[in-house]
């Protein structure tokens, strides 16, 4: 034992000029402490290139989701402070109707599938955390600071995302504020890291073709060969490797297999045909059979809807903002108007979505009832007593879309109470929370005639 420690000291003295510091045993002794024979730039680069594609997709679909809330319209902004980060906003689209379903489904599902890859990437580079000396130069200090943003931002986004899709708000801040802010922190660190490391990643990937690596079993597994000019004291390649217990293809199989398992276990809430096996998806529990048997986002009880609110006396109030003209319509009067039936999705920010057949009155016909032929927007209010989404603002574009409906029926039957009876909005391509349920008042803007 004493001799082995002695040998270690001699080796370290030779390896590094900072021998005095390096004598403290621990993970900063790169060559002795880190002994995994498969750790190395190539393996890190494989995980790296997956994240190089995945993280930007996550960022873009996330930004799209924020834009889909139309935060420039009154009351729609779910974040509280975003400074110049709102410059790119545009009026959200209404066609194709599945666009939010696909983009947000991708955001959530890809995020979950990337969890094993992110963990593998962190494992593969952990010796770097203990690199010795901890700060070699000003450049090294700045790089470590940007890595803090990258790793902190990434794990924060994954954790808050997972908690939010599972309705866990115990983090104690607004999910929207946190996830929005974290995304920018992550992307700031990501841009620096990806730009600086790309040449190295590319060279590493080219040094060992993947298809050849996949043919190497455990017995042939050997450490990577350092590139000329690499600093051996701070290399990911172990100088004193242990005997391999798993091959590189074994690790790739384990990580890829875990991602695949996550995909099948959670995708059923977005892809109906996979519902049966998606046992860990928060939204694949069955509501039984029938026209109203699909996912409910907020129950009538939770929303504080009282039987008296929706009894025979219920009437929809339509108001023209400019002229003050208003009209009240009972459910029977609405049913006697010109109804439209359309297949439209409900797609939630939490990633789950369903597509149902809705029948109702187009919003633009309702605007005409109060004399507005070219509506430029609408404020929709619900009977809901509590909750952040008891009202929503729609753009003129959304109100004028022929398939934007005040739905009265779904799949041929009256809406159930949990799905918004007596009437609810269905706006093509809008996030689920803008499909206001238990609607009782709509205020249209635009020139009244």
């Amino acid at each position: 034992m004493v001799r082995r420690v002695g040998e270690a000291l001699v080796m370290n003295t030779r390896l590094s000029q900072n021998s005095r510091l390096q004598r403290i045993p621990g993970p900063h002794e790169m060559s002795r402490f880190w002994r995994s024979p498969i750790r190395g730039p190539w393996l890190t680069s494989v995980f790296g290139i997956v994240l190089l594609v995945g993280i930007p997709v996550e960022f873009l679909t996330g930004v799209v989701s924020w834009a889909a809330y139309d935060p420039r319209l009154h009351g729609n902004d779910v974040t509280t402070h975003h400074g110049i980060l709102s410059v790119f906003l545009f009026d959200w689209v209404t066609s194709p109707s599945w666009i939010y379903r696909v983009s947000q489904g991708t955001h959530v599902l890809l995020g979950l599938v990337l969890v094993p890859v992110l963990l593998a990437k962190l494992w593969s580079v952990i010796p770097r955390l203990f690199a010795w000396p901890p700060l070699r130069s000003i450049a090294h200090l700045l790089e470590r600071a940007s890595l803090l943003l990258l790793v902190g931002g990434a794990i924060f986004e994954f954790v808050t995302g997972i908690m939010n899709i599972d309705y866990d708000y115990s983090f104690g801040f607004s999910f929207y504020d946190g996830h929005f802010f974290g995304a920018w922190v992550l992307i700031a660190g990501f841009v620096v890291h990806a730009t600086l490391k790309f040449p190295r990643m590319w060279a590493s990937l080219r040094s060992r073709p993947l298809h050849r690596e996949l043919q190497v079993g455990l017995s042939g597994t050997a450490p990577e060969v350092p590139e000329p000019g690499d600093d051996p004291a701070n290399s990911l390649i172990a100088a004193n490797p242990a005997a391999p217990t798993i091959s590189r293809r074994g690790v790739l199989g384990l990580v890829g297999g875990s991602s695949l398992a996550v995909f099948f276990l959670t995708s059923g809430q977005s892809i109906r045909s996979l519902q049966g096996i998606s046992v860990l998806s928060p939204r694949t529990q069955s509501y039984g059979r029938g026209p109203n048997a699909f996912q409910v986002n907020r129950t009538a009880v939770a929303a504080g809807i009282r039987p008296v609110d929706i009894a025979e006396a219920w009437a929809l109030t339509l108001i023209a903002e400019s002229s003050g003209r208003n009209v009240s319509l009972t459910r029977d009067q609405l049913l006697n108007m010109q109804l439209v039936t359309a297949d439209l999705p409900i797609a939630c920010v939490e990633g789950w979505s369903v597509q149902e057949r809705w029948t109702g009155v187009p919003l633009r016909l309702l605007a005409e009832q109060v004399g507005i032929r070219h509506p430029t927007g609408a404020r929709v209010e619900s009977l809901e007593r509590n909750g952040a989404f008891s009202s929503a603002s729609l753009s003129g574009h959304q109100v004028r879309a022929p398939e934007s409906l005040l739905a009265l029926k779904v799949n041929g039957a009256d809406l159930s109470l949990d799905h918004g009876y007596p009437a609810r909005n269905i706006i093509p391509a809008a996030p689920g929370v803008h499909n206001t349920k238990w609607v009782n008042r709509i205020t249209f803007s635009g020139v009244a005639t």
Binding site: L122, D166, G172, A188, T195, T299
Partner: protein, 157 residues
């Protein structure tokens, strides 16, 4: 340029990118600070930066080290099949599936889940346990099959 490399430690691209990134991060903090509970957001990001390296990595490394002797004791018997990956694979699957669904499995978000869906989180713990159990069982069956095959090939030799 060699001056920059000597004093700073890297090239101009590195300097420009890193400073821009940190300045932007400063702007982000300044922007988010007025938000309610913003300090908590910052604390969570700092904790997120550390959680893998300080909590998860030591945990799974120690577990892996504990597992390794299961094979070391068999070293030298060339007929034996290494056991370690037959534990690692189901253990990783179990851990990953828990990570992506822990609020449901631990019923940590039951009230909000019920408010939203009208349903309970009751099924998830059982599902996750069943999944974990099946993964270990399948792995054990494959291990036994490999062991039998090795034994048989030794007999035929």
């Amino acid at each position: 340029m060699s001056w920059l490399r000597r004093r700073y430690g890297d090239g101009p691209l590195h300097l420009v990118l890193s400073t821009a990134c940190l300045a932007f991060a400063g702007y982000l903090v300044w922007t988010v600070l007025p938000a309610p509970n913003s300090v908590r957001i910052l604390v969570w990001i700092a904790a997120a930066a550390a959680i893998h390296d300080v909590v998860l990595w030591p945990l799974y490394t120690v577990l892996d080290r504990i597992l390794r002797p299961t094979d070391r004791s068999r070293r030298g018997r060339h007929t034996s099949v290494p056991l370690i990956n037959h534990i690692r694979v189901p253990a990783v699957l179990s851990a990953v599936t828990l990570l992506i669904s822990f609020p449901l499995v631990l019923r940590h978000s039951e009230p909000a889940y019920h408010t939203a869906s009208g349903l309970t989180e009751q099924p998830y713990l059982g599902r996750w346990l069943l999944l974990t159990g099946s993964a270990f069982a399948a792995s054990a069956v494959i291990y036994l099959a490999r062991l039998l095959r090795t034994r048989r090939s030794r007999v035929t030799q």
